[in-house]
């Protein structure tokens, strides 16, 4: 549908108020495949912004490269579509220049944990106040289905025609291991709870990572005979365990399951505040 924005003063089209308010509707419908979960995650980000009444001029969305990273073109706030793997590096610069801004990174599993793996762990270690939302579809979708660091062991990709011999990363655990003070996991099936989790991540002072399992029926699904988008979302429904319940379960029962919810939420000194304290101390004479 071609939308002429010049004469539109209010929402008279078949578009919900949330989407009309937060998306660049002239770029919709988006480029993502039928059944791709990324649109669901992006809607949850918009819902979190609406719930928090975030000022869009003080909100920055930073993305890298990949299917996920098209998000920066769709969400109507300050946004920048950066180079592969470097979204967190750009976001770090933005946060240091504007510590009062909410800086949100939307990235994919490959962008965050392969090409940008170092940026992820060091931003987590510093505890800089970014919110990193990973659209984790377990494959490189945009470039044609190559296996990524989150493709499960012995599953298939165009570059793993006989099965993947690597072990996968768990991005939430990786970030926690590197010192992230907020980490959560969710899925696109859990869309009704997702906006709330993203809101918690944005409100958290310090580095937040939200690993959202998306669905890629086009590449990951087809390569691994996971069925349609509906089948893949049903799998998420049947194989997710809330973190509160998982605490009392033995490890072998959690094998191959997704533990969803807030995995860690703790306080620690935030990097841009620490930097500002240092600047004040040096300019005023170190005491």
């Amino acid at each position: 549908m071609k939308v002429d924005m010049t004469n539109v003063s209010e929402n008279t089209m078949n578009i919900s108020d949330l989407i009309y308010k937060y998306m660049r509707i002239e770029h919709l419908p988006h480029i993502w495949c039928p059944g791709c979960g990324n649109g669901i995650i992006l809607r949850a980000v918009a819902q979190a912004m609406e719930n928090m009444k975030l000022e869009r001029n003080k909100t920055v969305l930073v993305s890298g490269i990949g299917c996920s990273s098209r998000a920066a073109g769709y969400l109507d706030c300050n946004s920048i579509h950066t180079t592969h793997g470097r979204a967190i590096a750009y976001a770090t610069g933005i946060k240091m220049a504007h510590p009062d801004y909410e800086v949100i990174v939307i990235t994919g599993d490959g962008d965050a944990s392969a090409i940008g793996g170092n940026h992820l762990i060091h931003a987590a270690r510093r505890n800089i106040g970014l919110t990193v939302i990973v659209m984790n579809n377990n494959i490189y979708g945009m470039t044609g289905g190559q296996y990524s660091p989150t493709t499960p062991h012995r599953e298939f990709g165009t570059t793993a025609p006989y099965g993947n011999i690597d072990q996968p990363f768990d991005i939430a655990k990786l970030a926690m291991g590197a010192g992230a003070t907020f980490a959560a996991r969710s899925t696109v099936y859990h869309a009704p709870q997702l906006a709330g989790i993203i809101e918690k991540g944005i409100r958290h002072k310090g580095f937040s990572v939200i690993d959202v399992t998306s669905i890629c029926p086009t590449y990951y699904g087809r390569k691994n005979k996971k069925g349609s988008a509906v089948d893949m979302m049903r799998w998420q429904k049947e194989n997710s365990i809330p973190v509160e319940k998982a605490k009392d379960m033995p490890e072998e029962e959690l094998e191959g399951k997704l533990v969803v919810g807030v995995l860690r939420d703790k306080e620690a000194v935030e990097y841009s505040e620490e930097y500002s304290r240092l600047v004040d101390a040096v300019q005023g004479g170190i005491k």
């Binding site: 549908m1 078949n14 919900s16 989407i19 919709l28 419908p29 988006h30 869309a191 509906v230 979302m233």
Partner: protein, 65 residues
């Protein structure tokens, strides 16, 4: 305020997620587009809106006048 279900068929890509997860099974996909089943009892819960990847289905609130 009253509520109604709105479908934007221009944006619907026919993935079927809304129909599969509708708690009252009120939706169906025909020719790659979603539509309401005849006589279906929609409870306006909004689950379809939250899970639609394409923003093609939603609950609209309208002023009564």
């Amino acid at each position: 305020m009253s509520k109604k279900l709105v479908i934007n068929t221009d944006w619907c890509k026919g993935c079927g997620i809304c129909a599969a997860f509708c708690p009252k099974s009120t939706l169906e996909v025909v020719d790659e587009k979603v539509r309401r089943k005849d006589g279906a009892d929609c409870i306006l819960c909004g689950m379809c809106e939250m899970r639609c990847p394409d923003y093609a289905i939603y609950i609209k609130e309208e002023d009564d006048d």
